[in-house]
């Protein structure tokens, strides 16, 4: 399942997408959980009883601000969350 967490508002679209099918057999021990400086990700059991990663509820409406420190306007390197997830399950829309 592709889970998109975030929102669209007057300033743009801010979604983090997680391919949860890849979380089920995560080969890197859910490295994303510790990689995010804000601790935005957590592990949970979804509606189909699979253990997957999701974006914590309290961050879902403020992604543009919470992710800002990893996205400077210049000199932006790879995102820590996406880099930690070597299977490539995490993507950002902006």
């Amino acid at each position: 399942m592709i889970a998109n967490y975030g929102y669209k508002d007057g300033s743009g679209e801010y979604y983090i997408s997680i391919d949860t099918d890849q979380c089920i057999t995560c080969p890197v021990g859910r490295a994303c959980l510790g990689a995010c400086p804000k601790g935005m990700f957590e592990s949970m059991v979804d509606d189909y009883d699979d253990e997957v990663v999701h974006v914590k509820e309290q961050f879902r409406r403020s992604l543009a601000y919470d992710c800002a420190e990893c996205k400077p306007s210049t000199g932006r390197g790879p995102l820590p969350c996406a880099s930690a997830c070597t299977p490539g399950a995490i993507g950002h829309s902006w």
């Binding site: 399942m1 998109n4 508002d9 829309s93």
Partner: protein
């Protein structure tokens, strides 16, 4: 929404946004003869539904306005069915809570997200060819992809902004002083299709609508502009995950042809028809999940509210 503005008492200000609460029971069935009786309770931000499923088939539902607290709203929705069928919570084998108030349903055995429940409900209502679901709820909007079994494969939700939601339509209904059930039909009664209102933020759309009225727009033209704006808003959400054939709309706004027809025109695809109230999809999905859980685990112990 199955709306008629409730007739106000003398001296009372009419509330045009008020849609009628309703209860439906399949009189050809009797829940007492069912081997499995399950409930889905969807406590939404604007309305709460309770659906009873007997042996995996839709038996009854009620759709009520959500009150100031979720437990009471859930109980009120159940009482809608109980009052017409004589059913009590002791007779029910499993209850699934869903919607934004799902964790506050005092008599539910399990909480399941409305995303999974809407997909399951739409699969029942529209058949196994449903692939893309647009749920236009009271205060959020969801785009969902599912497989032939109604399992979610992709979803996107916007609950930060009330644009493109039922509450937005209620605000316009009150502003125009036109019963909410009439908005869709009236939006086509215009000499020329207007541009969409530039902002679909509920707060700003309201002031923009007033400005249009002052500028000479008829009420119908303002409604048409607002319906178009809502349609454009939700279509942009849908396009983010893509639209596949087997397009199904759930939620109260599925009953507003002014928005639905414009969405269909923008997408170039027809929404699937259903005879079942589109507003109960979440609760229906919950009741169907409950039925599956009874098949797997057996009946749960009754939890009294």
């Amino acid at each position: 929404m199955n709306a008629e503005a409730a007739t106000p008492a003398a001296g009372e200000k009419p509330e045009f946004w008020r849609w009628a609460e309703n209860v439906w029971v399949d009189e050809t069935k009797d829940w007492r003869s069912a081997k499995t009786l399950t409930l889905g309770i969807d406590v939404g931000s604007v309305s709460s539904q309770c659906v009873a499923v007997a042996d995996g088939e839709l038996y009854a539902y009620s759709s009520m306005r959500t009150g100031s607290n979720s437990p009471d709203s859930a109980l009120n929705a159940f009482k809608g069915i109980a009052g017409q069928t004589g059913m009590t919570l002791n007779d029910v084998h499993f209850v699934v809570g869903t919607g934004y108030g799902r964790v506050n349903v005092p008599f539910s055995h399990k909480a399941i997200t409305e995303i999974a429940c809407h997909a399951r409900g739409a699969n029942y209502m529209g058949g196994n060819s449903v692939r893309t679901i647009l749920d236009m709820g009271g205060q959020d909007c969801k785009a969902i992809h599912c497989d032939e079994k109604g399992k979610v494969t992709n979803f996107l939700m916007n609950d930060k902004c009330a644009a493109g939601t039922g509450r937005g339509m209620e605000v316009i209904s009150d502003l125009m002083q036109i019963p909410i059930a009439e908005l869709g039909g009236r939006s086509f009664d215009v000499d020329q299709e207007p541009e969409a209102v530039s902002s679909v933020c509920v707060v700003f759309a309201k002031s923009e609508a007033l400005a249009l009225l002052k500028g000479g727009y008829t009420k119908n033209k303002v409604i048409a502009a607002y319906c178009q704006a809502m349609a454009e808003r939700v279509v942009s959400l849908l396009e983010r995950i893509g639209v596949e054939e087997g397009f199904f709309i759930t939620g109260g706004i599925a009953k507003n042809p002014g928005v639905v027809k414009r969405i269909e025109k923008l997408l170039g695809i027809q929404a699937m028809a259903t005879k079942i109230d589109s507003q109960i999809a979440g609760a229906l999905g919950g009741a169907l999940f409950a039925h599956t859980l009874v098949q797997k685990q057996g009946p749960a112990k009754p939890l009294l509210a």
